[in-house]
């Protein structure tokens, strides 16, 4: 079942923007969303940083030239 929190998820927008990133959507948003750290935090009312990945790691933005 699709993740019920996907519409308000900041990263979901990014997952849909490039084909390579679609694997996150397939694996978590459409698949095991109960294992997504963002979903689990939203269920417990915790703050969710925009850089928190579904696997629990934090995204480190890099500057491009």
């Amino acid at each position: 079942m699709a993740c019920p929190k996907a519409e308000g998820c900041a990263l979901y927008e990014l997952f849909t923007s490039r084909a390579l990133l679609g694997v996150w959507k397939t694996y978590y948003c459409l698949g095991q969303h109960e294992n997504c750290e963002r979903f689990k935090r939203s269920e417990t009312g915790q703050e969710i940083d925009d850089t928190l990945l579904p696997n629990g790691q934090s995204l480190q933005p890099v500057k491009q030239r």
Binding site: L11, E13, L14, K63
Partner: protein, 186 residues
């Protein structure tokens, strides 16, 4: 003049049709506050974040030729367009309904006889509406959804949290409405 609102039964059916159509077109459950939040958060969709996300994707899933691409884009353009157009469409739909249905008896800015009694000036009504919108936004994000997300999509799909949310806001809204109407002598 007593406003003649659309039948709540008809409104319920129409709203349900919107939710079903939205799910059919986009593949996702309808949640207006979530859509609004997503629209505001589009600012994070920059190249730096995308580049970092691609690196994290490769680290997590490895080199997968065609990962996500074999089946085309993760989200079809029509899907994304439908979601982007929902919010302006909702506003334009309300405006169109008002223009095409003058028989409702609602006047611009009055919000009905109860609101006129409580808030006689237009400025006060605008202020209260704005403040209410801000509070509603906070509440919706704290609860993980609003009336559409919990009341339509969540309950329809059997989400336990949605049943709790609907029970709370339905009870409070009904009680508050009853008190306001009683004080207003209606």
């Amino acid at each position: 003049m007593e406003p003649a609102f659309i039948s709540p039964w008809l409104a319920g059916v129409l709203t349900a049709l919107v939710a079903v159509a939205y799910a059919g077109v986009t593949g996702w459950m309808l949640g207006v506050s979530g859509l609004f939040d997503a629209a505001l958060r589009r600012r994070v969709s920059n190249e730096d974040l995308l580049a970092a996300l691609e690196a994290a994707t490769l680290a997590q899933f490895g080199e997968q030729p065609g990962a996500g691409a074999a089946e085309g884009p993760a989200t079809a353009p029509s899907d994304r367009n439908a979601r982007r157009w929902f919010l302006p469409g909702m506003l334009l739909g309300g405006l169109a309904w008002r223009l095409l249905s003058p028989a409702t008896g609602l006047e611009w800015g009055t919000l009905g006889p109860s609101m006129s009694l409580w808030l006689p000036s237009l400025g006060a009504r605008v202020g209260v509406l704005f403040g209410s919108g801000v509070l509603l936004g906070f509440g919706a994000r704290m609860a993980g959804g609003c009336t559409s997300g919990h009341g339509l999509s969540g309950v329809a799909t059997g989400q336990r949290g949605s049943f709790v949310s609907v029970a709370v806001f339905w009870t409070v809204a009904t009680a508050l409405s009853a008190v306001m109407n009683r004080v207003a002598g209606r």
